[in-house]
């Protein structure tokens, strides 16, 4: 009898995705076939992959060697617990996004639906292969496949010049990152020519080469994840892409970079140095602060979410850094605590950010508008999307009792232990970094209130919004799936930690599960209940019970009468939609307090203007500090080199002659 190992099931899933994609080409313009049949099928495959990973977690690694590849260089694949956690993330997030996508694609938007179906499923399959790859060659092939397919997805609407530009920038930075990753793998082979990960693990790296490999990996995966200063593609590519693709990129693809970073720093590069963690933490803190501040001042809802993703990636890097620090000093329990926070945040962010991006997709379809200044009041027209977005917003703001809070709570608990570090100044500086994390969390709340309040609440800022229609049934199912996962991740932390603990144990040798499991399933007490505990279920139940009892008592003891009148607003007469805060107005405090962080082009009205207007454009300082000088340098060097090109054959012959003479002089025996 043929038994299927989990790794076989995952391979079959990848192949099925590819097959679904190719089938899409059979009828590229048949929206019903592609949308209502192929995408739900892809979602089912995602569910299969997710369940397989769930079933696998805790088992011992499985390997497979594929017969494809180059001669003497086949693809090695391996399914271990680290991979399984990320496959779980990929599978379950895909279910929601694919079902949503089934109802999302419309006629006449850029690339034909069938072709997008191919690109989308190729993207999924290559992400799965990235996670499964067990040699540098397979990894790089899958990684490039992921970058290319997502490039084509980003530029689906390629008739707009700005979308083409965003895609180009994305492709460029993806390749700068890929080169760094390739170099990192090269360093880790130590010249042995063995490109399998097993070979790399077997090498004894000197601290110098290990550090070099780590730094290259940090740069390469950081470019994909959006760490400073390689984040610039993210806020361009996410708004350009169709919403399910933005959701997939932000929710899942960024996490593959985190996966790669974890794989290299804990598994392949050898014993970590303490300063690796400091570097990751420093970059992470800068990224988080930068991301959240820019997210709070955006006027485009998808850019706002894209910057918020940068912030979350920053927090993940902080967690990773803290884990590396603890790990390098052999404090494995604490490392397990923060590593669990990293895994948890990966899962939580994948789900709630996909949810939010998909909600913007529904809003975009209903209103054809991405600019916050032209939205508003959509909770009246799109209640489903609005209430489900609220779930994502609360999770994204890192508030209890939803998923974002659990990881934040674990991370802060980790910081509370950092004074015990056996290093004379780390134990002073690291706890203070928690202050920055706290600031970031609080600012994330500001950005999320802005996002939800301006899009869904208030009066409609444009008359056309009255015609907005709520999301269709497919889209609703996708959103409900993701919102449900957000809630589950929020209220069942112990169960989830019990699941991902296998991966923690694999990387560190110890996990949290035995400590967490020692208490009731609803209680999260990673170290001991006297030290810290959190029971989200009781938390939620108390608030809900208090609210319901309060409401019932008031209605019973008094009455439930209510009547509707125009808004009061202190009796001011001008109460039109233009009297509300704009997106720019809402973020004015941030721009004012953190003014040096932004590059602003402002236009103020003067008393003589016939048509006075105010405008502000917030630019990314990194463009002006880093990228434009770099572009100018490249341009300058190119101009110098063009001087060589005279166009006369005699001159070129002279060059050859001179080169020969120089070579003869240099290569004299």
């Amino acid at each position: 009898m043929l038994t299927l190992l989990p790794i076989d099931v995952l391979l079959i899933s990848a192949c099925t995705w590819l097959a679904i994609g190719v089938t899409g080409l059979a009828a590229p313009h048949n929206l019903r076939f592609v949308g209502k049949f192929l995408f739900p099928l892809g979602a089912l495959v995602g569910l299969l992959a997710g369940l397989t990973a769930l079933e696998f977690l805790g088992a011992s690694p499985e390997v497979a060697v594929l017969a494809i590849g180059l001669p003497n260089l086949p693809f090695h694949l391996r399914l271990d617990n680290l991979t399984a956690v990320f496959v779980l993330l990929l599978g379950f997030t895909t279910v929601g996004i694919s079902i949503f996508a089934a109802g999302y694609f419309r006629k006449g938007e850029g690339t034909a639906p069938g072709l997008q179906c191919l690109q989308y499923h190729f993207f999924l399959a290559s992400m799965l292969l990235v996670l499964l790859a067990d040699d540098a060659y397979a990894f790089m092939v899958a990684w490039e496949g992921m970058a290319l397919s997502s490039f084509f997805l980003v530029t689906a609407d390629h008739r707009h010049a700005e979308i083409r530009r965003a895609g180009y920038l994305y492709l460029l930075i993806a390749h700068v990152g890929a080169i760094a990753i390739l170099l990192s793998f090269g360093v880790m082979t130590s010249g042995s020519g063995d490109y399998t990960f097993d070979g790399m693990r077997a090498q004894a790296h000197t601290p110098f080469w290990a550090s070099l490999a780590y730094l290259l990996a940090l740069a390469g995966f950081g470019a994909k994840a959006g760490l400073l200063p390689l984040h610039v593609w993210l806020p361009e590519a996410h708004p350009a892409a169709p919403s399910p693709v933005s959701a997939m990129m932000s929710g899942v693809m960024l996490k593959t970079a985190i996966y790669g970073l974890l794989r290299v720093s804990f598994d392949l590069a050898g014993a970590p140095q303490w300063w690796w963690g400091v570097v990751a933490m420093g970059i992470g803190l800068a990224t988080a602060v930068f991301g959240v501040l820019y997210s709070a001042v955006q006027s485009d809802m998808k850019r706002l979410l894209a910057y918020s993703s940068i912030e979350n990636i920053g927090l993940l890097a902080v967690g990773l850094g803290l884990t590396l620090i603890f790990h390098s000093y052999g404090m494995e329990i604490l490392a397990a605590l923060t590593l669990t926070a990293v895994f948890y945040h990966c899962l939580a962010h994948a789900v709630f950010k996909s949810l939010l991006f998909l909600c913007t997709g529904s809003v975009l379809h209903a209103t054809r508008e991405r600019s916050l200044g032209k939205l508003g009041g959509l909770i009246h027209r799109m209640p489903w999307v609005a209430w489900l977005a609220l779930v994502g917003v609360i999770a994204s703001a890192g508030l209890p009792p939803l998923s974002g809070f659990v990881s934040e709570w674990l991370l802060l608990q980790g910081f509370l232990f950092s004074p015990g570090l056996p290093h004379p100044w780390l134990n002073m500086v690291v706890p203070v970094a928690a202050a920055v994390v706290a600031l970031v969390a609080a600012l994330a709340g500001f950005a999320m209130v802005k996002f939800f309040g301006i899009v869904f609440l208030g009066q409609m800022r444009e008359p056309a919004l009255k015609d907005a229609r709520d999301a269709g049934p497919w889209e609703r199912v996708g959103l409900v799936w993701l919102a449900g996962l957000t809630l589950l991740l929020g209220v069942l932390p112990s169960t989830v930690i019990g699941l991902i603990d296998a991966a923690t144990r694999q990387l560190l040798g110890t996990g949290l599960a035995d400590k967490v499991d020692a208490h009731s399933w609803w209680m999260l007490a990673p170290i001991s209940p006297a030290r810290a505990s959190y029971e989200p279920l009781i938390f939620l139940a108390t608030i809900v019970a208090a609210a319901l009892i309060g409401r019932a008592l008031v209605r019973r003891l008094y009455h439930g009468r209510m009547r509707r009148t125009p808004a009061w607003d202190c009796g001011y007469i001008f109460r039109g939609p233009r009297a509300q805060d704009t997106a720019e107005g809402f973020s004015q405090p941030i721009r004012r307090i953190f003014e040096p962080m932004f590059r602003m082009e402002r236009h103020f009205p003067t008393s003589r203007d016939a048509q006075p207007y105010y405008s502000v454009k917030v630019g990314d300082r990194f463009w002006y500090w880093l990228y434009l000088p770099l572009v100018r340098l490249v341009n300058g060097v190119s101009t110098l080199i063009t001087g060589l090109q005279g166009g006369r054959i005699a001159i070129y012959l002279l060059y050859s002659f001179l080169t020969l003479i120089v070579l003869l002089l240099v290569a004299r025996p």
Binding site: A532, A547, A567, D581
Partner: protein, 317 residues
């Protein structure tokens, strides 16, 4: 969890519900005395609540379901906060549900709800209030967390109960870091409870309002619940401050004698605290909204300084 623990837990919640408006009334009375005004009756907040509950809700046309759900949600959040802060005894069955970090989360959850409700009707003052509330929030929250970090590092725990037990019962040591943390906490509680110098609970000038601007559109039972929740918040912050910095008198376990002693001690502490609050409010002027970052930035720096003092100067006990 014991039956008596559950009883005293529920007793503490009921006491919070009953005492919170009284505390607000007491602070208002002290303020009036200090400002040479004739004081409103001590029970004025109860009369207000009763009156508001009787009145019809007058709802703006543009208000959504969110607007109507927020008062009960905020009320629920504040009730939970009061349930997990030890007031009388440290034997609280609800306390493991949330530690101090989660407590900060409860307050910000309530803040986000009320800010969203303020933006819901779509009036100019509502959005202005919501934006300012979030501004105060993101400045105050990190400072509050740093205060909590300092106390948590002293007691090696973020659980409120353990912190109180450590500070009140295990050992009596003077911690300089707690002085910094205490001042920072006072700053933060003024900002969070919409008091002078950040906000004025008695203001009638729309442009300077924060909290009042957010709840302009509320009326009837909704307003009553929000006002009650605001009282509960003041009560919760006062009790949290007392628990972190003056924990003496809170009974460990639930012996009847200790608890009977704890009630008058708590009342005395709240009376003194409310009086001090009124004094500070009277001798300060409300600052412009863009001085608020300076005020709360100071609080944040003091809190971080407290943390550094803890890390550098105090040996690990």
């Amino acid at each position: 969890m014991s039956i008596s623990g559950l009883f005293w837990q529920i007793f503490a919640i009921v006491m919070a519900l009953a005492l919170a408006p009284l505390l607000t009334g007491w602070v208002n009375q002290c303020r009036a005395w200090l400002q040479n005004r004739s004081a409103p009756p001590l029970l004025q907040p109860y009369y207000m609540l009763h009156k508001l509950f009787h009145k019809d809700v007058v709802l703006a046309h543009g208000a959504s379901t969110l607007f109507r759900s927020v008062p009960v949600a905020v009320f629920g959040c504040m009730l939970l906060a009061c349930a997990i802060i030890p007031t009388l005894s440290t034997d609280l069955p609800f306390a493991p549900a949330a530690d101090t970090i989660a407590l900060v989360g409860v307050f910000s959850l309530a803040r986000i709800f009320i800010s969203l409700a303020a933006m819901d009707v779509g009036t100019s003052f509502g959005a202005l209030g919501g934006r300012r509330e979030m501004l105060v929030g993101f400045l105050a929250e990190p400072a509050l967390l740093m205060v909590i970090f300092t106390t948590a590092m002293i007691s090696q725990s973020t659980s409120v109960v353990t912190i109180v037990e450590t500070l009140a019962h295990r050992d009596f040591v003077i911690y300089p870091s707690l002085a910094f943390a205490g001042i920072a906490f006072t700053f933060v509680s003024f900002a969070e409870n919409a008091r002078v110098p950040i906000d004025n609970p008695a203001t009638h000038l729309e442009l300077t309002m924060i909290h009042e601007a957010m709840i302009l559109e509320y009326s009837g039972r909704h307003l009553a619940l929000i006002e009650w929740a605001a009282s509960l918040k003041l009560y919760a912050y006062s009790c949290l401050g007392l628990a972190l910095f003056f924990p003496w008198g809170i009974a460990e376990g639930n012996s009847i004698g200790g608890l009977l002693l704890a009630i008058p001690v708590l009342l005395a502490k709240l009376t003194v605290g409310g009086g001090l609050l009124a004094v500070i409010e009277t001798i300060n002027a409300k600052v412009r909204i863009f001085r608020a970052p300076e005020f709360l930035g100071t609080a944040f720096l003091l809190a971080v300084l407290g943390l550094l003092v803890r890390l550098m100067l105090e040996t690990r006990v």
